[in-house]
Symmetry: C2
Subunit: 340 residues, 2 copies
DNA sequence: TATTTTTATTAAAACGTTTAACTAAAAATT
DNA sequence: AATTTTTAGTTAAACGTTTTAATAAAAATA
């Protein structure tokens, strides 16, 4: 049978309390008994039961990772990688991640994730934008709440964000340095803080280079930054503005659609029109030509937010820390010198 | 404070045992008390503690999903989707998945995943090939062990497999129907049962069409079916055999490499050489031309293995069921009529 | 009416830990 | 030598459930 703490105690000739103290590295245990107990633990291959532990210590060793259905399905490669980073870092810190996908339209009164209700987590990480309501509901519980790739209106939480603004700047500066002056911008969901910041980076980069911002050069009314919408947006943009020689897409998914349209319209990339994306999604690599983009360290973001969580749970950190993850330009073949 | 079963009992004027019985829908509870208790539960927003429950009932509500580091990192999109399917189905059945990545060279004596040691799971799902040793170690515990996308040598486990053989046949039949007679095959890790079966499908399809199997038409000595190795294999294959007009790659990842080589070598796809992959990975869609392939319902596989697990845990199933998941040809633009 | 059977509920033990309070022995201080 | 302090370990309660066996009340049977 599976050994319990009692078996260890019996074998080592001590009380179960002593075994527990040894496990927790309590100072008031003599070296002699410590080694004796450890020997018994090893020989029996004893491991404390998580349930029993959780019951009394109120620590479960689990962290919830919450993301909306929409985000997860539509931007799967992106959030999957953040999740992987979190998962990886969690293991380092002896935690498990409970992945929880919620409806995108969660409302007050809806059922919270089961792991929360059953107090089966020590903390909650929220990835991407979620409805306000779920935050309000989660606040009632007293575990730490961390955010990654989204900063909720209330400013009191630890968050890990991409430096979207800088990324937008870098993308556009890259195009400018290639001689482009007529640079389009396509986006979906412009309400989203991340997209806004990228747009802001675009504008400021233009401004810094003394290029006037032309509002007809940006298409931001697509409802979601997905491939189909990139196709759409590019069509709209280029039908109206023949002078455009480069397009900055708010993400890679849309950029793929943009490229698709350009090819269909008989334009060659980057000779006629340069394209740059944002996110550095796997698929961009196998495009023809491979997509230039802004690289986002997704795995790193995930592990960073988990590291923050671990620090909080270990009492190492108290103030809500904000972390801005730097991004970098990845030059591939979809951007080139501006045509004359 | 968070309500416990005692609070509910007090409020409903019954013993805690009654509350517990109500929760478990025990028949011998009068309708009157049942509704009274349920009312109290709702009013207090009571949810049983997972830890306390687990301690006595030995049910954790968790399932481990084990995959090797190699598989997860190198074939991420593939196993990620299986994982998602499992996760999705788990939620339907009120389980949580604990994702656990193990070293690819796990040996007897290595530390098993913590969730197993701490008895924090009710069952274990293993995805993809894993070392024999970990299976032997896991057997000592008495929870169900299910496999997906890998069938261990011992035949006593429930498994969910792709119909690799049929997939291989379909791919090659498709090429044959386009008039191809000189069809190459590239693979890595030919020891792997799945790859073997695909290879077998290739051979039988040729045989059925009265085309002699030519061993120089297959390159199977790459160590892992990844893009770089596809590039390699295609080079080897075409340098030696000018007559080849079509290549069946054991998976999409390698097929991407194959296409890359063909383009570099100045051949056009599918006019000069047709290419077909296997797996239907996202990236294949945005290739130029989009990759023809054998579609594998990855999400479906994941949910199927979880469904099996749930049935076992609920006592609905006892014999180790084998499920063969059918695959289908997905015709895109990388395959076309054979050149003359 | 007395007895048996059925029904509804409860008391209490058990699950495997942690931890605060306690004790006994040893060491240090007076 | 008597007292205090420190050290090393133990006792016992607590955590929040489930579940078996017991019991009381009601219904059925004799």
């Amino acid at each position: 049978m599976i050994p319990t703490i009692k078996d260890v105690a019996r074998k080592a000739n001590v009380s179960i309390a002593t075994v527990s103290l040894v496990i927790h590295n309590h100072k008031r245990i003599s070296d002699e008994t410590r080694t004796r107990v450890n020997k018994a633990i090893k020989e029996l291959n004893y491991h404390p039961s998580r349930s029993a532990r959780g019951l009394v210590s109120r620590k479960t060793g689990n962290i919830a990772f919450i993301v909306t259905e929409d985000h997860f399905l539509r931007s799967e490669p992106f959030y999957t990688r953040i999740f992987l980073g979190t998962e990886f870092e969690a293991r380092q810190n002896e935690y498990y991640i409970l992945l929880t996908i919620i409806k995108s339209d969660f409302k007050k009164g809806d059922r919270l994730p089961r792991c929360v209700l059953e107090r089966n987590v020590d903390g909650v990480i929220i990835a991407g934008k979620v409805p306000e309501d779920i935050i309000t509901c989660l606040e009632k519980y007293d575990f730490p709440l961390n955010f990654v790739d989204y900063s909720p209106p209330a400013d009191r939480y630890p968050v890990v964000l991409i430096d979207n603004f800088s990324g937008g700047m870098q993308a556009v500066q890259h195009l400018i340095s290639l001689g482009h002056k007529h640079i389009g911008f396509v986006a979906g969901d412009i309400q989203h803080p991340s997209i806004r910041d990228r747009f802001q980076g675009y504008k400021i980069a233009l401004e810094n280079a003394d290029i006037n911002y032309n509002s007809t050069y940006s298409v931001t009314d697509e409802n979601y930054p997905a491939r189909e919408n990139g196709y759409h947006a590019a069509k709209k943009l280029l039908k109206a503005n023949k002078k455009i020689t480069a397009i900055f897409s708010c993400n890679d998914a849309m950029a793929i659609g943009v490229m698709q349209y350009l090819k269909e319209a008989g334009m060659s990339i980057p000779e006629d029109v340069s394209v740059i994306g944002f996110d550095d999604v796997e698929a961009g690599l196998s495009l023809d030509p491979p997509l230039s983009t802004i690289g986002v360290p997704k795995i790193e973001m995930g592990s960073e937010v988990m590291r923050l969580m671990a620090d909080i749970l270990n009492g190492k950190v108290t103030s809500p820390k904000k972390v801005l993850i730097p991004v970098e330009l990845i030059e591939r073949k979809s951007t080139g010198p501006a045509r004359l």
